[in-house]
Symmetry: C2
């Protein structure tokens, strides 16, 4: 059995896995679940991932692995997408934990509210504070990238994939990247990587 990726096309977290799998040239089955219609909260899906979230990767042997950044690590171990040295590996994880704790709730969540919830959703009230924290996260990235080409070890790793996924669509969260020139230059470097695919990439 090839691997199966349970995903939602517009999810940046799912896109992380589609991008890495394309760059690794690994074949896989792709199953889209409509998270807007509760497809990740059915008993059938909760048996795969009790936390009820995509992406979830079903491995060749039938085991299920959720959490986008843990899936990236699983797929990238032993490849050039993770550094060889102990500190480099820890720094990749540092930026992936930064992404999930200090970036994703403040970039991905506003984008989700704006793109997928009705205009009169009460969740729109969350936007000002979330976007303020989103700008703080972008500021941390700008400081780091002002003297570097990529997040870790001066080369493209899964830390870049993890942070690229929602940063490159930050405008859809009403976040303007004009004040972050180093971030914009880094986005262009990521998009120029071999076998890059866009977030709209839907596997066969």
């Amino acid at each position: 059995m090839p691997m199966t990726l349970y995903d939602f096309l517009d999810s940046g977290n799912g896109y992380k896995i589609r991008l890495l799998l394309a760059q690794l040239q690994r074949p896989y089955r792709w199953v889209e679940l409509d998270i807007l219609k509760g497809a990740t909260r059915t008993p059938e899906f909760l048996a795969k991932n009790p936390n009820g979230r995509i992406p979830t990767l079903e491995l060749e042997d039938g085991a299920f692995l959720p959490e986008s950044n843990a899936i990236l690590w699983y797929l990238a171990e032993g490849t050039p997408f993770i550094p060889d040295d102990r500190l480099g590996r820890a720094q990749v994880l540092q930026w992936m934990f930064f992404e999930q704790y200090s970036h994703e709730p403040y970039v991905a969540t506003p984008r989700f509210i704006l793109k997928h919830l009705p205009e009169d959703s009460p969740r729109r009230a969350e936007l000002p504070e979330r976007l303020e924290r989103g700008r703080a996260a972008l500021g941390v990235m700008e400081t780091h990238l002002s003297r570097r080409t990529f997040f870790v070890a001066e080369r493209y790793t899964i830390a870049d994939i993890a942070l690229y996924a929602y940063t490159h669509v930050a405008h859809e969260a009403q976040l303007d990247l004009t004040p972050y020139p180093s971030v914009r230059a880094w986005l262009a470097r990521v998009a120029a990587q071999p076998r890059y695919v866009p977030i709209t990439y839907r596997p066969e």
Copy 2:
């Protein structure tokens, strides 16, 4: 130079590192910063961690590593606290990303609001929704632990340390663990590990 841990005694994220370092019997310097008085937002500390958070570990060579779970990984690589197999390592990361995304904001943050902010803080309004999500996280843990002794590979790993840190003080966040018997049994197993130290443990 020994390692230096920048920390705040009541932080569960900092406690993760103190617990692992005690269990690894590694010597280190310990520097407490008063996060309530802005000690992590000074220019001096922001030069160490531009994201302005503890814990941050200063390594022997002077490099700085932030993000509690990345520090756990750095310290535990090559020890029995991380599994040897690829899937086991990814599952440790799965639960550490679950901790930071689905647990910490809904267990640690309510605890912080209740313990450290004034009684009339407007942030108290966040409590009902945060605690509802905290109970959801505890429910996911209960389901997983109902058939297991530890989170991954049936042995004590840094995934257990990461989730123990705030779960064992969940009552300080007004979260009642009575409905989660498997979680309570697991807490007791963690507290019975060799060289365990409590969250109040202050290094010399």
